[in-house]
Symmetry: C2
Subunit: 313 residues, 2 copies
């Protein structure tokens, strides 16, 4: 069993091994998470998403510098749902982050898809808890793309930054895909390419049409890591959102809702395994399935019958 | 309530409305699916996936012609997980399929992401059942992209065709993303562009390294809808796979496994709603959640306690 005391005193190897346990859904995972949990709740989680090639990694690099500049500890989880690469592997653009790998105040980890996507969001969420207990003040979760998987993962971030680029033509796509609702800050990166202003205007127009219920209007910032512009404003914007959700009670409410969902999902997962197990061994279940196969009983009706069986014992 | 008798006698408006009920997760959905279910199990489900721009829609067009050439009825569900477009909307490349819209033997429907992705896979699966009961002999499910969502959707196909193109450089990516395991046929489309042979060789090499457990080696075909080449071979390949899984018992086994999973997922879904409902009203649940928020109890432990509560009543 891995030692949680070593984790909370900042042992990097222990942190890395614990994330591997999570990724592998190893049997000791639940006991481990139970031990880690009391030491969590301190880290601020910053999500960064956007299309491939939007320059997210370079921005993450810059944000790491800002975090380190305030002498805070940074954790980075780079999630690629399209890649089955196992944790710990360095993706191509992780290499750019290597300047930080000797810095003891920075912990970087890549995670790829294995098993189902629900699995990846769950693993990411638990990996964030490890880095939280490990002592990271801010955990950056970077995801590639703007699909549903990214939305699921971003659901666990306190502040979500959506990165767009001029000329990519993807901003409408991104807005369509439900990102509008989860973005707390919009960043038009690669402003050096020109055309950033037009995209910023488009996004502002979209924001005019869909005001937030929580009273926060996402700022639309332009950045360039080449010209080193807009980065201070980005960092200030992130902190402004953090301060807003902390003081308004939005963070507290969101944390509660998130944990509630987490519990419900854990119940669901546990039950799923339990039911799968029982359908293997239970004769009553077996004959019910036979009826479904013979189209005598539909799956939803069968589900209700199984539920009744479970509820009684 | 929509009339299932109208559906099975081939009323198109009823079919369209039923799919809308499924997409909206309308309250009558379960009762409707229960009525539809006895009339299903006849249609053959063909999945077609590949990156955007691989020419899937053109291939689907050609396959529709083959199906119609044998005087069979075709259903097409075009799924775009990145788009929240509601059912019935015609996407850009659906327009090319319009030559079939006056053909009473062809039913085309687009589906976009709404709610969670699990939701989209589930909606697609139920929409396939509607088209099955509607009398379609073959239902084509076309998905954009090769993410996890597409893999989930393809899980419900009897035969899955993966479409690659020369020069897109995406074939390695596709192979990485777990497609290798679900592909029953590989098609290198746009063979007119040149370079198709090389990609075919790469795929064959990958297949050499990972033989299937079920005894089927996916053929690697080259097609061009411009030069109208390889299309007869593609259709023959699809039918060969269908015949193989039918005669070998693979189809029967897969259908059983799929229905079993479907039942388990329905149980899970039902329970999820039930638990969410109870966490709203139940005081015991409420105080357990408070403990989770105060980091006294971790989510997994809370889940087990809730499970115990449920099992007892």
């Amino acid at each position: 069993m891995l030692d949680v005391n070593k984790l909370i005193t900042g042992d990097r190897r222990t942190a890395a091994k614990m994330i591997t346990v999570i990724e592998n859904e190893a049997p000791e995972k639940q006991a481990l998470m139970a031990q880690i949990y009391p030491h969590t709740g301190r880290a601020y989680v910053l999500g960064i998403t956007g299309s491939p090639g939007a320059g997210k990694s370079s921005l993450v690099d810059e944000i790491i510098k800002k975090i380190r500049g305030e002498d805070l500890k940074a954790g980075i989880i780079a999630v690629d749902p399209t890649s089955p690469i196992s944790g710990g592997a360095l993706l191509g653009d992780r290499i750019r982050m290597q300047e930080h790998t000797l810095d003891r105040g920075v912990f970087i980890r890549s995670m790829g898809a294995r098993g189902c996507l629900g699995g990846l969001a769950r693993a990411t969420k638990d990996a964030v808890k490890v880095l939280d207990a490990f002592g990271c003040d801010m955990v950056l979760v970077e995801t590639v793309g703007v699909g549903q998987s990214e939305l699921d993962i971003m659901h666990y971030a306190d502040t979500t930054v959506v990165v767009l680029t001029p000329g990519s033509g993807d901003h409408i796509q991104i807005i369509k895909a439900g990102i509008m609702e989860i973005a707390d800050l919009f960043v038009i990166n690669k402003a050096d390419l020109g055309g950033a202003r037009r995209i910023a205007n488009d996004v502002e127009a979209m924001l005019d049409m869909s005001p937030r219920s929580n009273g926060w209007r996402p700022p639309v910032l332009t950045t360039s890591t080449i010209e080193v512009s807009g980065l201070d404003e980005l960092w200030a914007g992130i902190k402004a959102h953090r301060d807003y959700i902390r003081s308004s009670g939005v963070l507290e409410e969101a944390t509660r809702e998130r944990l509630k969902l987490e519990v419900v999902e854990a119940v669901e997962q546990e039950l799923f395994n339990l039911i799968l197990e029982r359908t293997k061994s239970d004769r009553q279940m077996g004959s019910l399935l036979d009826e479904v196969v013979r189209r005598k009983v539909d799956p939803y009706t069968a589900a209700r019958r199984i539920l009744d069986m479970f509820m009684q014992n």
